[in-house]
């Protein structure tokens, strides 16, 4: 069972505002989807997980300065900017 409160909590974790109607719709859908996911309860625990399929470990490059974006390029897609900086929302409430 998934409760509406759990849906609101998840929406808050994901930073997505949802309406009451959406919360109820998502609640029903989450219940049926999570119910389907529960098939994994049948799987044995004693298996090593695979997070990544390639046999690669710690791929590093040389620590040499290369070309990077100019300030103008970096700011090109921002709506809010001021004096060559991104302008973000208030973080102290």
């Amino acid at each position: 069972m998934v409760s509406v409160e759990e849906v609101y909590h998840t929406a808050e974790l994901a930073k997505i505002e949802i309406s009451e109607d959406e919360a109820e719709k998502f609640r029903k859908e989450f219940e049926s989807i999570l119910n389907y996911f529960n098939i994994l309860d049948e799987v044995e625990e004693d298996v090593e997980p695979t997070f990544q399929v390639l046999p690669l470990r710690n791929v590093f490059r040389e620590d040499e300065p290369g070309e990077c974006l100019s300030q103008d390029e970096a700011l090109k897609n921002a709506t809010h900017k001021e004096e060559g900086c991104f302008k973000g929302p208030r973080v102290v409430e």
Binding site: K15, E17, F30, Y36, L56, F86, K87, R90
Partner: protein
């Protein structure tokens, strides 16, 4: 249209006229396969070709690029409102490669929002229609990339495949599509959805063209730390193969009827057997848990500050981010981000996320065992013919349509969809799965099957 046919047209009419004719067809098209058409740049490149200034293995060939692949100074939206104003300041690795080889980028192909879907119905820019029946979907998530090949609105295209997103539209549009081995093609500049699963891959009208495009895009790139550092070269090979039918990958009577006919033809040339993959029972659930979890982390970057859709007024950060994301993301994207956040949240990590990664180990084991016995594995690419628009209204029903394609991504293997004619006037695809980096075997086998089938 094949590259050879396109080049005949270019020789007789000039590249400029050939491209202009294609742009005209795109403008009149009812398919909605493009989000952005690069009209001026494409014509400029065509003129350059006619002056003899465009060189390379793809010189003068129009290529469509899926809209989640970064193109410098050209709108790259991921079919989402949240990136509806985003123009990348750099090219993806694969786009650099296309340009180096003289390709003409004709437009940015429509897709499911952030590649989350099986039908291209989640696109902010509307559904892509199937070239063989406008009331049906072209598949997804690379629906635009598939439709443009079938409708001659491009000669080649690039898609991306996280759980079947190249193979599904290839099957539904009757074209060839390849999901390469994980790591063969650099993902630098591919806007991420689920990094451990996705690969960029080619779509085309014949195996030779598909192989050429793969040769161009495969290879070393230090900007993608999961890049395998190896290239690809197509070498004709006609040896007899051991072919395994995967019992767990089925479909309805319509597609399985055709699949069985194709198997009969393959049996005349190769040894065919059957193989069982018990872990596949869990593959779909594991795939969606991993994809959603990675999505919830990847899509955290969309906050309306550095790029993308923004609100006019900056508010407190909590309210601002939550509102930008509420307005900017579509429903399916919200659903996957939230379910991913849920699966990763305290108390559920072991039950869902970790368990899914254990299933991945079991899937890889089953494949490994199968490839000890067989050279390639086959199935129907999709479990059904192209769906009617709106047919898969329930999310879980939609997810289940990916049942034959997702195990490949969990294991990181290559897989090809080969068109095998029509049933009820709708295209059907055969899925061919190979061992790691066995693209050459897949393409040779695919070429044989398509030759036998058209005979």
């Amino acid at each position: 249209m094949k590259i050879a046919e396109w080049m005949e047209k270019v020789e007789s009419h000039g590249c400029y006229d050939a491209v202009a004719e294609m742009l005209d067809r795109i403008e009149k098209s009812k398919l909605n396969a493009y989000i952005t058409v690069c009209m001026d740049q494409a014509l400029e490149m065509a003129e350059k070709y006619d002056r003899g200034e465009l060189k390379g293995r793809l010189a003068g060939v129009p290529v469509a690029v899926k809209d989640n692949i970064s193109t410098k100074d050209v709108l790259t939206t991921c079919a989402s409102k949240i990136l509806s104003n985003y123009k990348p300041v750099f090219d993806a690795h694969v786009v650099e490669k296309l340009k180096q080889e003289g390709a003409i980028i004709i437009g940015k192909a429509n897709m499911d929002e952030f590649a989350m879907g099986t039908t291209t119905e989640t696109s902010h820019y509307g559904v892509v229609r199937n070239p063989y029946d406008l009331e049906r979907v072209a598949g997804g998530s690379s629906g635009g990339s598939g439709a443009v090949i079938a409708a001659d609105e491009a000669v080649l295209s690039l898609g991306s495949d996280t759980g079947g997103s190249i193979r599904c539209p290839a099957s539904f549009c009757g074209v060839f599509g390849l999901k390469p081995t994980y790591g063969l093609v650099s993902r630098y500049g591919l806007i991420p959805y689920a990094n451990s699963l996705e690969q960029i891959g080619p779509m085309a009208d014949c195996i030779e063209d598909l192989a050429l495009l793969l040769e161009v895009i495969a290879g070393k790139d230090s900007r993608d730390s999961t890049n395998a550092g190896r290239g690809f070269k197509f070498i004709p090979d006609e040896r007899k193969l051991k072919v395994g039918i995967v019992k767990e990958m089925g479909g309805n009577d319509e597609v399985m009827g055709r699949f069985n006919e194709v198997v009969e033809v393959i049996k005349q040339h190769h040894d065919v057997g059957e193989v069982s993959m018990p872990s596949f029972k869990y593959a779909l659930a594991a795939y969606y848990i991993i994809a959603m979890s990675e999505a919830s982390s990847n899509l955290a970057r969309y906050d309306g500050v550095r790029y993308g859709f923004a609100l006019e007024k900056l508010d407190s950060w909590r309210r601002y981010f939550s509102k930008v994301r509420a307005e900017g993301f579509g429903e399916e994207v919200k659903r996957r981000i939230m379910l991913g956040s849920y699966a990763l949240s305290a108390g559920y990590y072991g039950k869902y996320y970790l368990k899914a990664q254990k299933v991945r180990t079991l899937v890889i084991r089953d494949f490994r065992k199968a490839f000890e016995q067989y050279d390639v594995l086959i199935s129907s690419t999709m479990p059904a013919l192209p769906f009617k628009i709106g047919e898969l209204a329930d999310p879980l029903t939609m997810y289940k349509a990916d049942v034959n394609t997702v195990p490949i991504n969990l294991a990181g293997l290559p897989a090809l969809s080969v068109p095998v004619g029509f049933v009820k006037k709708l295209p059907v695809g055969l899925q061919v799965i190979g061992d790691y980096f066995s693209e050459n075997t897949l393409l040779n086998f695919g070429r044989q099957v398509s030759e036998w089938w058209s005979e």
